[in-house]
Symmetry: C2
């Protein structure tokens, strides 16, 4: 019975690549799987796929019409997945996020580790299965690790991400420092997008103490470039909050060159954000030096602050 393999909505490079890599592995192990995606590739991922001459995956939004069972990569929370996740059986999960809003009726295969990238865990799955990684796939997996760890600079980066990244660079025969910077810059082309597009492109929803919290991240090489459009961002976010029922929206503008984030906060409760980072908001903004990771540096303190 065929199974679909996919990453989260608003896919980033890891969501798309980890699905391709894990599907390739499962097929080698005798399963019948297809890697798909819950959205179109972003600018960075387009650059990656073009660089390695790999087609973009087919886009779906629900699964039950096609299959009874699915494998999730790079996510587990239902609101980040296909719309009908509760109607299909999840047989495998490969992930590096917290576990929340995820429930199964039966035992399953679940391999999560607190590492920087799902593709790092997929690499370990290849290793323990004794399956070789082709050069092209290695290049794609390397790209996912570079993307998630911001070229091994994010605090989510572990020794394993670095070691496995270097391993993959060798297999793919890629100069990862040079390629990585090129790739990250390709993802920071903000001028070509509207504010409404940018606040959606890498956004994820979280349920915290009954509130719907939306966190989007925009990578840049110049924060002033982003905040010259601040009013338009505020308008777009207010619009999105109203339309989609988000209570609180955090826009992380992250400078990938010096690893700092400026946060723009729209919605309520604002004081929870102040509690989370122990800093007063000024004009709805906070500078967070050294913060680049939504998963490790923004969601957990926010989650904690909501509990208080």
């Amino acid at each position: 019975m065929k199974e679909l393999v996919f990453g989260h909505q608003n896919p980033d490079t890891d969501a798309i690549v980890a699905a391709k890599a894990y599907s390739y592995l499962q097929n080698k192990l005798g399963k019948d799987t297809e890697a798909v995606a819950l959205g179109n590739p972003n600018e960075e991922t387009k650059f990656v796929l073009a660089h390695f001459n790999e087609p973009a995956p087919r886009v779906i939004s629900s699964a039950k019409a096609e299959v009874d069972a699915v494998m999730l990569v790079d996510h587990n929370e239902a609101q980040q997945s296909v719309s009908d996740l509760k109607d299909v059986t999840v047989t495998h999960v490969i992930d590096h996020h917290r576990i929340a809003n995820f429930e199964t009726a039966a035992p399953l295969y679940y391999h999560a580790e607190p590492v920087g990238c799902s593709s790092t865990i997929v690499y370990k799955e290849f290793e323990s299965a004794g399956v070789e990684i082709p050069a092209k796939l290695a290049g794609l997996m390397l790209s996912a690790i570079i993307s998630d760890t911001l070229l091994f600079k994010s605090p989510t980066t572990t020794k394993e991400d670095l070691k496995i990244g270097k391993q993959l660079a060798k297999i793919a025969n890629v100069d990862y420092e040079k390629y990585g910077l090129e790739m990250l810059k390709a993802g920071t082309n903000l001028a070509s997008k509207t504010e409404a597009e940018l606040i959606e492109a890498d956004a994820k929803s979280f349920d915290m103490a009954g509130k719907t919290v939306r966190v989007d991240q925009v990578n840049t090489v110049d924060l002033d470039d982003v905040f010259s459009r601040e009013q338009a961002f505020r308008d777009a976010i207010e619009n999105a909050n109203e339309k989609n029922g988000y209570d609180l929206f955090l826009l992380m503008a992250t400078n990938i060159l010096d690893s700092n984030t400026r946060l723009l906060v729209v919605g309520e409760p604002q004081n929870v954000v102040e509690k989370a980072f122990n800093v007063k908001l000024v004009d709805n903004k906070i500078d967070l030096p050294g913060v680049v990771s939504r998963k490790k540096q923004v969601v957990p303190p926010l989650e904690e602050a909501f509990k208080k």
Copy 2:
């Protein structure tokens, strides 16, 4: 920072042994952990610990007063764990059950597989870490696998449980067929226990569609022996339902020699049980030939029937 490692409430042999084994491994890897238990060993586990001359673990019911972080084995659902699970950080989970009512604020290490026993997965953790298993620990882990798979006869048994079980028998230098039957029989000594004790000894709670469903399993070599005490079991269950707010109580009496279960159902809704097994209840009872596994053969169909 010290972490506690433990299995579920009403510990069975796997809950106690997997905690001991995983704690041993984590300590070898440089962590400071202690294996504890959420209850006293049952008759079978007492036999196992005595056989391998291993002390029973310290019993706890909450964790926060001692530690900030814990590792769970053989369970993940909060209602089966320490009473203050939400106040501590779960850093590792080794499990072979469905995932439900489990949520973390941060990424963690989670290794679950749909195999027969948590100790099978712990064995794989030893293997991938390259740490040797001492003979005594191998005997304990073998006992856990025999216990969970009813000597490799339960439908939850996988090729890996059998292969790893044989591996462990070799390390421990144990004749697993002979030892296994002795061990299982040691766990079926029902005469020495009251009905109130027996319906608690291996019971787990599940939240299904808002109802609290309690499922207990009693192993025996003679079903008539159990059902000669039927009225006393009914009284004890009604008492427990009222006292603890259980909506529905299923007592599985399982004959470990021929792998059949007779179910006694007390509480409501009874018709969901009939739907789950597609059989009419007669005098609150159903015979389920070939059914020995709560996790694989009772909880999933019940869960499905509640959704309809």
